[in-house]
Subunit: 302 residues, 2 copies
């Protein structure tokens, strides 16, 4: 069998982004950790990490990390007990999209984490990165808009998140007094989550709008909400996140006829063990309160 | 003088994280952009970017980017007008800490952005990264807890953000029924922003607590708040962010005698032009509503 002490060292340095901090995590000296990595590389005859400009696993290193995380999940099953919080608690590293974390994720997971003694290690990513993390074995599961699972994983539809284009009443009056038009879209500053905000692009496509437009960039789901509330720009906001602002009159829906639906899928390893199976069942049953049912995207009859 | 077309190409590919997307931003072909980078490197006799494992500026490239951003700010002054939104609008790239973006930032900036026609390009970072971005010329300003400015910049105290250790009533009852003790800290899952959450460490230091403890990781300010509200763990939460939850009884302050204050400083380039000067004045006058006055940290009389 593989020497799991070596894989643990690899996992720690990649997790912590450095040999020194990885060593700390394992309560080892840095030289002990270096030794383990060197031994691992010597046995495999290939490097498992690159060191510059920052520490990253090689493709081989990534396959090893993937394997190590799967083994950890299986070990958890083997112990076959509800772990007490503390030493015995099970860590689950998951990648989720920022809008889910800002809305339905925590209320849905609260009870599950407590009941199962799970510690979450969340990474927030756009969906391509999230799927790459799945493929690389960095995370045990992810939430994203892609239906197709990576090799070795399954994907289940959770429901759809509905987005509406929103602004403060003052901003709407200044820029969209006569509704959403080419002219308005050309001049009104939008708030995008990042330079490649495909959701906003999808909205502009609905209007056949192709020109450049002024925009702010704000890589935080609630930062976008706060900036919209403050009248800094207009933005695509999840309905469930903006509903309070809408009902209090702090936000207006600029284009009620054109909501955009984004399907969300839960991806998880096929042989990830009992805890992932239970989490999957929990997500599938609990997401309903926040997300629109998967069926709702295609009308039952035309 | 330098050939600014070449610097513009460098700026675009670094900004967009690739030659192809950088070329798109400039409406050029990828080969035209490659040519410009090659020409720049040939003239300087040194590389300005490294290409693998991902595109990053070299130290020389970073100095050029810094210079280009300063020139852009000075050009803006030269035009000496309140820019109309759209083509003439001025972009300001700023690094701010997640808790500021989640609380006082947007309400404070709303009016300023509108009045001055400013488009914000925000990056959210922990403070060391933010200061490195300042040094590298990637951002025109940043907000962080460090008082000392990087070379060529100034720093001004904005006030302090007060944190309190909070949990849901149910979580508090389960884990802290008898107050905050070594035993409770050993078993109660904390929610940390990242593996190196120094604020949480500062809190544990107040209790002389040095042992390992179970923790979730959630790299989102409001994700931490939501997870705390959902009873998933306890966390250090900005007073101004948790006050609604406290007053509604959805959160409790676990340790009212031990708030932690974090000073916040606004760093900006010394020769950054009139817009940065105006933003500085605005931040210094408007922060008061959200942050505690810088003086408040040391009592006027003992």
């Amino acid at each position: 069998m593989l020497d799991y002490k070596l894989l643990e060292a690899l996992s720690a340095i990649v997790d912590q982004g450095g040999f020194d901090r990885g060593a700390q995590q394992l309560n080892l000296t840095q030289s002990a950790v270096s030794q383990r990595i060197k031994l691992l590389e010597a046995r495999l005859g290939q490097p498992v990490v690159v060191r510059t400009p920052r520490l990253l696993p090689t493709p081989l290193g990534q396959r090893l990390l993937n394997h190590a995380q799967q083994v950890r999940l299986l070990e958890h099953d083997l112990l076959d007990r509800i772990p007490a919080l503390g030493e015995g608690a099970q860590r689950l590293r998951l990648a989720i999209n920022a809008d889910s974390l800002a809305t339905w994720w925590a209320p849905t997971l609260g009870d599950f984490c407590h009941r199962r003694g799970v510690l979450l290690d969340l990474v927030v990513d756009d969906q391509e990165v999230a799927l790459r993390r799945m493929r690389d074995g960095e995370v045990a599961g992810c939430i994203c808009a892609t239906a197709r699972p990576v090799q070795g994983a399954r994907a289940r539809a959770l429901g759809t998140m509905r987005y509406r284009v929103m602004a403060s009443p003052g901003f709407a009056e200044r820029h969209f007094a006569e509704g959403v038009s080419q002219q308005a879209l050309e001049r009104a500053p939008a708030i995008l989550y990042g330079p490649e905000d495909r959701l906003h692009q999808r909205y502009l496509d609905l209007h056949g709008f192709k020109d450049p437009f002024p925009h702010h960039l704000c890589p935080s789901s609630e930062g976008v909400l706060h900036m919209t509330l403050a009248g800094i720009g207009y933005a695509m906001i999840p309905e469930c996140q903006g509903s309070d602002g809408l009902s209090r009159g702090e936000l207006v829906d600029l284009d009620p006829q054109r909501p955009l639906d984004v399907p969300l899928y839960w991806h998880f390893w096929r042989h990830g063990g009992e805890l992932l199976v239970a989490l999957t069942a929990h997500l599938l049953s609990a997401g309903d309160n926040w997300l629109r049912a998967p069926e709702a995207t295609t009308p039952a009859s035309a």
